[in-house]
């Protein structure tokens, strides 16, 4: 396999693989936040802020994958 093909293959794989973990993670964060909001509706504001914070940290990993996609795509 030549370098160009390997870079394109890697570019495709890297974003797909990078999206799996954060996908599961954001699901867990949002699901538990809904549970917390339902159990204690008076804490809704604080739970929502914390949820966005958790989503932001988790989502960063997927975005690193997106960035790596562009880097690898530029190599091809």
């Amino acid at each position: 396999m030549d370098t160009q093909a390997a870079a394109l293959l890697g570019a495709g794989l890297v974003y797909g693989l990078a999206a799996i973990g954060p996908g599961i993670g954001i699901g867990i964060v949002a699901g538990n936040a809904v549970q917390a909001m339902v159990r204690q509706p008076e804490m809704q504001g604080q739970v929502r802020t914390t949820m966005f914070l958790g989503i932001a940290f988790t989502e960063a990993l997927a975005l690193f994958g997106l960035l790596l996609f562009f880097i690898l795509y530029g190599k091809a």
């Binding site: 504001g45 966005f52 932001a56 960063a60 975005l63 690193f64 997106l66």
Partner: protein
Amino acid sequence: MIVAQIVQVPSDINEMFDWPAVLPLGINRVVLLVFLATIATFLFLYLPFRRSRIVPTKFQAAVEWGVGFVKTNIGRDVIGPESVKYEWLLIPMFFWILFLNLFEVTPFINFPPTSRMAIPAFLAVFVYIVFVFVGIKKHGFRYFFKTVVPDVPWPYLILVTPIEIISVFFIRPVSLAVRLFANMLAGHIMLTVFFLTSAAYFVLSPKLLAFPIPFAFAVVITGFEIFVGALQAFIFTLLTAVYIESSIHLEH
């Protein structure tokens, strides 16, 4: 001429990534849009309070709601009573990023300057300097020691200290910049792809009647991008507040 630069339509797809300079000092379309957002932020925060009234006008009430949101939900809830000292940073930064992000869906502009790495990188470096400076000012050199040596049994420090050094002083600014940049770039590319697909169907094979489908997607995504732009401005400011808070209160 400057207005023509701001509302221009790129003739070539590569201009999505590479804007030629139009004025001296390498000022290109991105820089002009940044200037526009800066002026908009200044007017947005200055005009309603130039002659503020006890019974606010509609515009003043809206701006007061936005400023109050940043003050309470981002500043006071995260940092605590000391947040008053950092509002000079949080409030203008929130609205500046918000305006830059909303240029993505503004008609005739359709380009978020935050999807150029320079602007998120500048903001992240600025936030980095601020939170390190706050930590040093508050705790002196102990700030670095306390940050990288947390309160755990000492054998764990072999593992924890390198992780803390990397995560606080390297990953923090990088992920802060990349999060904003990659979100806006992804949204911009998504909008471009759907609008261009719709236009290509319309021009190349109008009898197929396929062009409404990508166009409908593009309209939905436009609404979604308004949400994402506001959310990213919120998250960037929120994380700034969280980092400042972690520099003030070292014990957790």
